[in-house]
Each structure stands twice: as structure tokens, then as C-alpha cells.
């Protein structure tokens, strides 16, 4: 039986990746963020999974304007790194886990989730930046295979927070029913508060962010009652990415342990956070 061992919530702004790619992590601007990452990185290096699921959104790269899925799962054996308009990030190729991904898709569709199957997929910064947050120096290859789980946050109507949490719960059931004894980590990415365009560009809402960082562990159900409109109003037009953290949270046990946390403003135009949770034993 496969098992989720930990969950990582992290922002995925491209500039966090660029800071690493261009060796700027010790700059005055970036060092507070990367120093904040260190305790989580140290702990994760001691608790290595066999495969990671990355919940993220594509940013106008692999998903076409023509056909926009609410939820998609990548079932390929490898995922080329996308050229987002300035050449692909200089990171290792991303390898998939077709067997587990196929099992998850089949399980979710049986469970009444209307999954789009990404049989082929290029991955953008939404996926590769979280991998870099986890493994800053991967060398020639990432430490394990990756299953991309895509959520539409770009085009209204995004899935509701409630539906994202339910998807996570169903992913948790799917992983628990996978017959191989493997360890899985799950990443919820995006956020925190940020808005790129319009007169509210540059919006940061620290109190909403801290509330969310707290409740994602202790009371995710309350976060599922926040409407799309409220997410956009409070966290900004791009802050709605936070619903993807709820997918991660739903896949984990009711009780989880906070291993590390950091919050920093600004990383580019966003409030950036990291929160790492160990999946506690379920009292059964």
C-alpha cells in the first residue's frame, strides 16, 4: 500500500526559480526567503519519497486557450520543460510515474471526478519551481519521479475550494489503494496573496495569508467555505492559486504535524510562503 509521508505547501513564482538558476539566492533581496527554506529542506532531505505529486497550474504554456480543463493529471513517462517565452529553465528533465498516475486517474474517475488525462505534457515554472524549492541542486536528475496534477486557476470559473479539498481526499484514497509499498510526497503550490494586473496590482494581504497558513493545518474545512470571489477579493486575482493547497491538504490525514514554515514579502510581486507538514498517523 502506498503512503503519503509529507506535504509541502509552497509558492511557485518564476523569479524564485530564476534566483536559483542565476545564483542570486545569497543576494540581500533573496537571502531572507532562501534562509527561510533551509529547515524544511534539511528535514525533507532526511525523508525522501519515492514519487511526488505536484498540484499546480499551467501559466499559458502547455494548456491551450482552446481547451481548458478544470483538473488534469499527467500520465506520461516524461514531461519536457516548457519554453515559457524566454527559453526552458536549465533544470533536469522531469520523469513521470505512469503506473501510479494511471491508477490515480482510474480511481478518481470511478470516484466521480471528471479528470482530463494529460497523456503528453510540458511542465512550466508552476511545477519546476516547487521541485527546486524541494531540491535546490538536483544535478543531472530530480530525486524521484513526478506526477503533475493541474488545476485551472486562470479562467473563471475555477473549481471551488470545496471541490479542490474533495479532490485531495479522493487522491488520498487513490494512493492508499495503490498496491505497491511506496512513499509519496504531495506538493500544494501557488499563492500566497498576489495580483499581477489592474489597479490593485501589488496587493498583499498579510492577515489573510497568516490566517490561511494557520488553518490549512488546523481547520481546512473552514477554508473550503471561502468563495472564489472572496479568494480573489482577499488574496488577489492570482492569490486564488491558494485553492491548490487544499488539494494537498485533502490528500493528507485529518491530523498533520507542522515541521517548518516561512513567510516572506516580497518575492517578485507576491507574498511567498512555505509550510511543510508531516502526515501524522491516523487514529483509526
Amino acid at each position: 500500500m502506498a503512503e503519503i509521508i509529507w506535504g509541502l505547501a509552497t509558492s511557485h513564482v518564476p523569479s524564485i526559480g530564476a534566483a536559483m538558476d542565476n545564483a542570486k539566492t545569497h543576494d540581500e533581496y533573496w537571502s531572507p526567503l532562501f534562509e527561510g527554506y533551509q529547515p524544511a529542506r534539511d528535514w525533507m532531505a532526511q525523508h525522501t519519497p519515492d514519487v511526488v505529486l505536484v498540484i499546480y497550474n499551467d501559466h499559458a504554456n502547455a494548456i491551450d486557450l482552446d481547451l481548458m480543463p478544470t483538473f488534469a493529471i499527467g500520465t506520461a513517462s516524461h514531461f519536457p520543460v516548457a519554453d515559457e517565452g524566454w527559453g526552458p529553465r536549465p533544470v533536469p528533465p522531469v520523469l513521470g510515474h505512469p503506473e501510479l498516475a494511471t491508477h490515480i486517474v482510474e480511481s478518481l474517475v470511478d470516484d466521480e471526478f471528471d479528470i482530463t488525462v494529460a497523456n503528453q505534457l510540458q511542465v512550466d515554472h508552476g511545477l519546476t519551481v516547487p521541485l527546486s524549492v524541494y531540491t535546490p541542486e538536483p544535478g543531472d536528475s530530480w530525486p524521484c519521479p513526478v506526477i503533475p496534477v493541474l488545476v485551472n486557476v486562470l479562467q473563471y470559473p475555477q473549481p471551488t475550494a470545496k471541490r479542490c479539498y474533495a479532490l485531495g481526499q479522493a487522491i488520498g484514497r487513490a494512493i492508499a489503494s495503490y498496491p505497491e509499498n511506496i512513499k509519496v510526497a504531495i506538493f500544494g503550490t501557488g499563492g500566497m496573496s498576489h495580483q499581477l494586473s489592474g489597479e490593485r496590482a501589488g496587493l498583499i494581504n498579510e492577515s489573510f495569508d497568516h490566517m490561511f497558513l494557520d488553518k490549512i493545518q488546523t481547520d481546512p474545512e473552514e477554508l473550503t467555505r471561502i468563495t472564489r470571489e472572496e479568494y480573489i477579493r482577499e488574496a488577489g486575482s492570482e492569490g486564488i492559486e491558494l485553492i491548490m493547497w487544499l488539494v494537498m491538504r485533502g490528500a493528507m490525514n485529518p491530523v498533520i504535524t507542522r515541521i517548518a514554515e516561512t513567510y516572506h514579502v516580497p518575492a517578485s510581486n507576491t507574498a511567498a510562503a512555505l509550510a511543510l507538514f508531516e502526515n501524522s498517523e491516523n487514529p483509526s
Binding site: 499559458a60 486557450l65 517565452g85 473563471y156 470559473p157 501589488g202 498583499i204 480573489i232 486575482s237 517578485s268
Partner: protein, 117 residues
């Protein structure tokens, strides 16, 4: 009749915007190929002719009228690819959208970001 929320100072990109802004966003989507980036930079006007842009969309692109692009159905994630071609940052765009200089916009972010409501 869409339920899309109307939030002051905020673009919420929806299905109707996708339809309205389709040609503009499609054009920007082609910048994911180096060859297309070269073609565009070599002759912007004739590159525009390959897409079914409205006259307003066409001039917004050629004149780099970023606010107008958004007003005409552009999505920030597509438009940003054009800004990158110009070597402009999201902070530069943020300054344009908020009527500040890039430096002022960056300073506000460094000071903890902009607060509303």
C-alpha cells in the same frame, strides 16, 4: 448573465474574455517558440496580420498599450510573454497598471505590498 464577480481594480479572466481576447492571447501564446519570437521582432506588423486581431487589439500590441490589451480581453499570463520579449518585468507592468514608476512599485512591494479594503 455570467456569475463572474466584478471586483474593483481587478481583472477576472473568464470564458467571455477568452472569446473576446482570443486572437490577442493566441498571438502571445506563440512566443513559446524562439523562432516565433524572432519572426515577431523582425516584423511586428506582418506577424500581427497572421492573427484575427481587431484593429484595437492590433494597435494595442504594436503600441504596447498594456492596459488596453487587458481591457480587450488579454490575459496577464499571455501578455506577459510580450513584455518579456521587450525585457520588461512584472514590476514594470505593475507600475503601468497602478500609475507608478517601476521603482515606486518595487518600493511599495518591498515595504510590504499594497493594501486594500
Amino acid at each position: 448573465m455570467s456569475s463572474k464577480p466584478d471586483i474593483e481594480g481587478t481583472y477576472v479572466f473568464g470564458i467571455e474574455d477568452n472569446r473576446r481576447g482570443y486572437a490577442l492571447n493566441k498571438l502571445c501564446s506563440t512566443f513559446t517558440s524562439a523562432e516565433n519570437r524572432q519572426l515577431f521582432l523582425g516584423d511586428e506588423a506582418s506577424y500581427c496580420d497572421k492573427f484575427d486581431l481587431s484593429p484595437e487589439q492590433r494597435s494595442a500590441i504594436l503600441e504596447r498599450d498594456w492596459v488596453k490589451m487587458l481591457d480587450l480581453g488579454g490575459s496577464i499570463f499571455y501578455i506577459f510573454k510580450l513584455a518579456q520579449l521587450d525585457k520588461k518585468s512584472v514590476q514594470y507592468l505593475g507600475g503601468i497598471f497602478t500609475g507608478m514608476s517601476t521603482e515606486e512599485f518595487i518600493a511599495e512591494l518591498k515595504a510590504g505590498g499594497r493594501h486594500f479594503g
